[in-house]
Symmetry: C2
Subunit: 338 residues, 2 copies
Amino acid sequence: MNPGRRPRLEDVAEDVGVSTASVSLVLRGVAGPSAETRKRVLAAATRLGYRPDRTASLLARRRTHLLGVPVVLRDAFRAELAEEVQVAADERGYSVALGAVTPVHDEDRVVETLLDLRCEALLLLSPELRPGALAELGGRVPVVVVGRHVEPAGFDVVRVADDEGVGQAVDHLVGLGHRDLVHVDGAGAPMAADRRSGFLAATRRHGLDSARVLRGGYDEAAGAAAARALLDEPVLPTAVLAANDRSAIGLLDVFLRGGVRVPGDVSVVGYDDSGLAGLAHVDLTTVSQEAAAQAARAVEAAVERLDGGRSEPREVVLPPRLVVRGTTGPPRQAGRGG
Amino acid sequence: MNPGRRPRLEDVAEDVGVSTASVSLVLRGVAGPSAETRKRVLAAATRLGYRPDRTASLLARRRTHLLGVPVVLRDAFRAELAEEVQVAADERGYSVALGAVTPVHDEDRVVETLLDLRCEALLLLSPELRPGALAELGGRVPVVVVGRHVEPAGFDVVRVADDEGVGQAVDHLVGLGHRDLVHVDGAGAPMAADRRSGFLAATRRHGLDSARVLRGGYDEAAGAAAARALLDEPVLPTAVLAANDRSAIGLLDVFLRGGVRVPGDVSVVGYDDSGLAGLAHVDLTTVSQEAAAQAARAVEAAVERLDGGRSEPREVVLPPRLVVRGTTGPPRQAGRGG
DNA sequence: GCGTGGCTTTAAAGCGCTTTAAACACGAGT
DNA sequence: ACTCGTGTTTAAAGCGCTTTAAAGCCACGC
């Protein structure tokens, strides 16, 4: 019926001797067709190598079951999150369309592209957009903001309790005997404020009034700069909490080059538990952001709106998890570590 | 005409008082409609906030102008390549659909998903698929293999001359006075053989028969292990060429911890010029794979097949480019750098 | 014999856009 | 006046699938 072209629903129907409607129903697993019909349709579809044309299917039903995720590929943690979103979406019968955010392709533009592809919802990973822009976007299409502390208004928010995460890290260090802590913060970066306040709250809770915050940033250079500043001071703190893993790597690097042993002379804690932290030669104690859990909840939030009809915004705050590895140990005064 | 719904072509047509055909022509910039019509249609479209429904459009014309790119998000270099593909595709009027390859979502599966989205061609970044599988896939849809040395058969290949790249690095080191070189190779990884043979060819060319190859790998752990092996030997080589940047980072790390100065005691060269290499605290001399150029040529190859009707396979081999940074210097015997 | 209700199946109307063939308008040429 | 040609516009037929309303079929009970 149809020479070299890819088989259509009609070809299968004709082959079996039923209508395209029946074939459509069978192939989508909808109730109705009898077991007999079902069997024959399935057999014919397989034999003809039929594969549904998603485009036509999308046009006909008004749904696409597509989730859009703009992603900054260069950012290891967000990339990991995107992966997990794909996995979680899969489990719920949704596909994800990834859009690369690059210097020449900013977030707005990628969002438009994804919407043109008919994504039904957008999952934004630590988006840079202003809350106003987020709310506006949320008015057009369901939006879930992941990993950013912002008031849910017209969109959902899924994040980790970063203040608590830093608190766990502080507890861990204090438990080891540390009393002299420094936090190299993330300056104005997203979530940096939470981590900073979590640090201050936790140290006060332990009565450590000497605990200080040093201005830092979210990359290796910021950590390295902070480490150099610390080395210039008369006496090193016994433990440093970085704002994220990349900053921690910068700190480690400078300490290493300066002959400062970790954790012998100073303990270092990162944040994110990105791929970097687990590398054997880094072996960084850090706080996990639970990428998989965040992704799963984010997809769930989107699906609730799309399939469940929820419309009031929701905020999901997950507990972080301290991952103890090799860069933390007893302080140099107390233990025998140095 | 159409209450809350998004405006359709028909709404615009009705508003202007012409047929949908005219509107379609105007909006796509096809010749035919008069200047007058054109103007009024454009005005109406803007006023109504019309945005074409890509799905319907795709269904009607038989083209999608979509390029599929499976990408391993965790791999910095491939992620960068994917970004560049997006940029290059954009310039030629194509969009790219990214599909995340993860442990639970292997390359085959992602390829199927992308094909379901009606991608017209696939750009595979250092794919792991067997040549046979590649050829078979190439029979179904235009395929461009990027960054892998494989005979183009039923698909195109775009890659960098890795042997030459390593050769440039060797020349650079020899020019600095080095005579005692070691290459920590990539074992069985893609392109590793080329880098290895390039190393051997270049060192022979310079009469350095002592040049050795150590078995390594493509990650930090492999580099670290190789570095430890080197430290166990009675005398260190004066320069080490790693199979890629990640391996080089591992080498640097172990050297640093072992008190070996770079480049004072030993020079280190990476490969890829991934984001890692450029970081201030790493400052790694490396060989650039010219991601942007590779991406551009890959897109070009796909477009040639799709729009130009080319069908015979093509191989494009680009020249690599040495990027000299801070991890290479004169050898410890010769210069004063030790 | 006929109406009933439960299964199955299907005809047909879209989904929103593209495209082709044909219609149309209008002044030039003969 | 009539044919032609050029430049514009459009009716209508899809693209391949979904979905709804209606038709078919059949056993059952009155």
